[in-house]
């Protein structure tokens, strides 16, 4: 059973937050949603979580009992202790015999000794791990995570990823908005958003392979508008170049090239249609 979104569109006033987004979400896989600020990642995830934002399109999703969601804003009740947060989720989802699973989830992210701790007083990473544990407690078929690892220390990130991959290996479909592209590379599929439009979607290696033109590595870029830093050197995109295998292209390179190509296309459109 897979979940689908077809021709999903959504406007906030005059702004197109999402335009004709299509997505297929399959159990047992992690699907990454990436894009810059304001790309529409959080909006898409809210729709997937079941919020009614007056969207249009066809959406085929599980019922609320089968969805776990960690919003970008936190996802925990700061005045409650770790244990009370888990208990609230258990009661809201009408779970029985939930304590062993709660204990296991908290142990996997090193929060098992935090039972009485007020969650609002914990560090950012600890709060995100708790939010992740809360989302996974009801064993949802669809797990939706909005930048769950953003701003989290490397150890906590690793623990969170352990939770996420375990949920996927147990059969859950995971959709996660991400800011770290090294994390996105581990996903089964990627959806790259730009101003609410889908720039690319598919397997990470397919997105990288589909890049038009070539990317060359230089000490000093010859065209700064098409160049970006990579370590001590520069990567520069040549839209008319012939792809070669000498430069290793990462997902980050591919995402940057796709955004540059989109910006160039928008500029050409504006030049062709002066206001």
């Amino acid at each position: 059973m897979s979940w689908t979104v077809k021709n999903l569109s959504l406007r906030f006033g005059d702004v197109n937050a999402l335009t004709n987004v299509n997505m297929t979400i399959t159990p047992g896989n992690i699907h990454a949603v990436i894009g810059g600020d304001g790309a529409g990642k959080s909006t898409l995830l809210k729709v997937l979580a079941g919020l009614d934002l007056h969207q249009t399109g066809q959406i085929h999703l599980p019922t609320p009992e089968n969805i776990g969601f960690v919003p970008a804003s936190g996802g925990i009740f700061g005045d409650l202790s770790v244990e009370e947060n888990m208990e609230f989720v258990a009661q809201a989802y009408r779970l029985k015999n939930w304590k062993p699973r709660a204990k296991m989830l908290l142990k996997h992210c090193a929060l098992d000794s935090f039972g009485d701790r007020i969650s609002g007083q914990m560090s950012g990473g600890e709060r995100r791990k708790l939010a992740g544990s809360m989302a996974l407690l009801p064993k949802p078929g669809l797990v939706i995570l909005d930048e769950v690892t953003t701003g989290v220390d490397p150890v906590s990130r690793m623990e969170l990823w352990r939770l996420i991959t375990r949920a996927a290996s147990d059969g859950a479909a995971v959709v996660a908005a991400m800011t770290y592209l090294d994390e996105a590379e581990r996903s089964a599929t990627i959806l790259l958003l730009h101003n609410g439009h889908v720039l690319a979607s598919g397997r990470p290696q397919d997105i990288v392979a589909a890049i038009q033109g070539s990317i060359i590595t230089q000490d000093t870029p010859t065209n700064r508008s098409l160049a970006w830093r990579r370590g001590r050197q520069w990567q520069q995109w040549d839209p008319n170049g012939t792809p070669d295998n000498t430069t290793s292209i990462t997902l980050e390179d591919a995402a940057i090239v796709l955004e540059l190509a989109q910006e160039r296309a928008e500029e050409r459109t504006q030049e062709g249609n002066p206001a």
Binding site: L51, T56, Q58, A72
Partner: protein, 348 residues
């Protein structure tokens, strides 16, 4: 320093509610309270009873506004008129003597009447013979405490949830909208019930406030008033984006209730330009009911009107608050996530 001042002015300019508070509110308060804050009562509803009643009407000080004249009635009827707030002062003129009955629960009115006792009349203060301020204030303070709990604490509780973004979390959980709304408000209802019990018992015990009237009627007044104030709290939370905004709004709602409800200044002494505001404030009607029940043992039938007004306010305020909460605050879940959503709109 210049940079700081410019930054501060820019921030202030964009915070329209604060600008309104700083510029408009002082002027409004000055005008409203200037008209309201009067200690001398210049018009006292008066009843004249007994065979000499008509004759007496021509000899009284103009401050006594005669509303009832009954030549057949005696002192017993006079007490009932005061108990049911149908008059503030009753003159009884019978063959056996003359007496002046004054409602002691209306402090400023009673003091004004005492300064104008006609010759030959012996003043008799009823319900509060020593004109004890505490006894008059405690019933009103019960209402004020409830008002504070209901508006400030409830609105902060809801706005905090909104600020933390956890309302979205609640919306995607398998909870019904009614679960979220009732679950959010019910604890404050219980706290308000506890508060009213504690404050009333403390008032009776510490200040020797009597409880002369009907307990069921007092319970009805309290429950209805709690619904009104909880509704105000939720309504504030629906228009406040932050806790500081909620506090600002709550203060703007609390101040007029303290000044214009008759809790401190008698409604009768306020000029007509602001007195009408008092009749739109829930505390006004709670104070009438609580003072009547506790201090005077007012007939429950007489209190049906103020209770009815409070019930009407509760229905309107609570209804609007829940509607706005449902519409503006509680994020909505797609009605049926497994079915097409407005597919036609896309196709068009």
């Amino acid at each position: 320093m210049q940079a700081m001042i410019v930054k501060e002015f820019r921030q202030m300019r964009r915070d329209r509610r604060t600008v309104a508070l700083m510029a408009g509110l002082p002027l409004l308060l000055l005008i409203v309270f200037g008209y309201a804050a009067r200690f001398d009562v210049t018009e006292i509803d008066t009843a004249l009873l007994g065979p000499g009643a008509v004759e007496m009407a021509t000899t009284l000080d103009p401050v006594f506004n005669v509303v009832t004249v009954n030549e057949l009635a005696g002192a017993d009827v006079g007490q009932d008129l005061l108990r049911n707030s149908e008059a503030g002062v009753v003159f009884v003129h019978t063959d056996s003597g003359q007496s002046m009955l004054i409602d002691g629960t209306e402090l400023f009115m009673a003091q004004s009447a005492l300064r104008r006792v006609p010759p030959g009349f012996q003043p008799n203060l009823l319900f509060n013979p020593n004109l004890d301020t505490a006894k008059v204030m405690v019933p009103a303070l019960i209402g004020l405490v409830l008002l504070f709990i209901g508006t400030v604490i409830t609105s902060l509780g809801v706005v905090r949830e909104r600020e933390q973004g956890t309302l979205e979390q609640l919306a995607v959980m398998p909870l019904r909208a009614v679960d979220v709304i009732v679950g959010k408000i019910a604890p404050y209802f219980v706290v308000a019930l506890l508060d009213i019990t504690i404050v009333t018992l403390a008032g009776l015990w510490l200040f020797d406030v009597p409880f002369k009237g009907s307990f069921p009627m007092f319970a009805l007044f309290s429950l209805t008033f709690i619904f009104v104030v909880l509704g105000l709290g939720v309504a504030i939370s629906t228009v406040s984006k932050s806790q500081s905004e909620a506090i600002q709004l709550a203060i703007m709602l609390l101040l007029p209730q303290i000044m214009l409800s008759g809790m401190i200044f008698p409604l009768e002494s306020m000029s007509a330009e602001v007195r009408w505001i008092g009749y739109f404030l829930p505390l006004t009607w709670f104070v009438i009911g609580a003072r009547g029940i506790l201090l005077k043992g007012t007939d429950p039938a007489t209190l049906l009107f103020p209770l009815g007004i409070l019930v009407l306010m509760a229905i309107v305020v609570f209804g609007i608050a829940v509607f706005r909460f449902h519409r503006d605050i509680a994020p909505k879940r797609s009605s049926n996530p497994t079915s097409p959503v407005s597919a036609a709109a896309v196709e068009s």
